[in-house]
Subunit: 269 residues, 2 copies
Amino acid sequence: MGVLTDQQKARFMDLLWSIQSRLLAAFEEIDGKAKAERKSWERGEGAGGGTMGVIRGAIVEKAGCNVSAVSGPEYPAIEGEHKGKPFWAAGVSTIAHMYSPMAPIAHMNVRCLEVGDTFWVGGGADLTPFKAFDDDTKAFHAALEEACRGESHGTYDRYKKWCDEYFYIPHRKSIRGVGGIFFDYLKGDFDQLLNFLGKVTSAYCTVYPEILKKRVDEPFTDEQKDAQLFWRGRYAEFNLAWDRGTRFGLMTGGNTEAIFVSLPPVVKW
Amino acid sequence: MGVLTDQQKARFMDLLWSIQSRLLAAFEEIDGKAKAERKSWERGEGAGGGTMGVIRGAIVEKAGCNVSAVSGPEYPAIEGEHKGKPFWAAGVSTIAHMYSPMAPIAHMNVRCLEVGDTFWVGGGADLTPFKAFDDDTKAFHAALEEACRGESHGTYDRYKKWCDEYFYIPHRKSIRGVGGIFFDYLKGDFDQLLNFLGKVTSAYCTVYPEILKKRVDEPFTDEQKDAQLFWRGRYAEFNLAWDRGTRFGLMTGGNTEAIFVSLPPVVKW
């Protein structure tokens, strides 16, 4: 049963754990004081679980990085060819909110799903600045473009466009931030796909902390701070009202605590 | 076309405007300083519009009361017998958030829909205290029970149960607050239904300000205030992820500014 070997799954999990370690260490370094708290959870009866990591500090106001790996006899698809088949699903997801309105929110996720006798990977990364700096936007996009270079399953341009489409907020009539990449249902050779996910996540783990280090000490006004809190509403709205991953988690009784890790620490409406 | 006369519609609108006036005046009195701001909007081309009323103060942190009346050639139902028929829809909706964690959030809405050659009314009211006081819960329920007394279309018990079912938050596995009443698709004699809505809304306009006056000056701790901000997340989550009215508004490009009037002024996650 299944197409992935235990060794392949273990290698994928190694990637996820390394991303979590790297990001939480980077956030601790940027904050300089707050320490990440890790909390494990289990679905019970050998069905997997995960580890949430969250850091709440004066500079890194709230940053989370969650790793999970779950499995079961029936894939909980609402419909379609995969519904009801045995599945294994693992992924890492991170969203970070800095106190400073000068420092952007960013999100990254990669996941691998094995359902019945097929598997695929998906993921993405996007940057959402309250105050956009051209340098940051260019650096973020350039890092992701480099990670996509030479891949045969799809191009950077395609994944960039996919991101703009996915993170569109219909009721605000605008995209969530300045974009990034998004991809899903990538099938093919496991080693090649794992290598691609390694490049994407490594690019993110490098470029995002670099951007934060440049911005967290920038001066800002009380008006900008207040405006940032209202602007964060868009992020909460998108996640709660539109994001398929979040909604899937809420509807299927997933680990809601992990979902709330991603919501902004303080929001005004 | 339509079953309601212009005079009937005008009488329904009179009820809505009187509720808005009464509630905004009550909130101004409770706050003692802040004044309600009214803002009208139009859908364009004779398709109706509405008036948002919102007050933001030190005591009444954010309270909104919106009246709208819209019409069009095709009812925007997703499916069902009413899809695509000429419609007229009017309603009032209010949600209030006090600064004090001792004073409850409350919500009330009544609406009348005419689609093709049928019409119905719906609505409800519910109380959501951070710190529940038995006296307040009893007073709120008693006022609504009295408003339902002698009605032939349904009983208080039925509408109370409907409310508990509607305001259930699946991912939190709890109801939103201490309940109230909810009803929809009530058909019958217009005068009788208008009289019922008048009783329900009048009960709300009396009992909720009375509860607030008792609670806004109660002492509270910094810990309670902070906990209230996290607790408000449930309210935002319910409205954005689950509430059919809000989601219908977001999905159909309704007046999102009016929707945001209902979201809590400050939320923590």
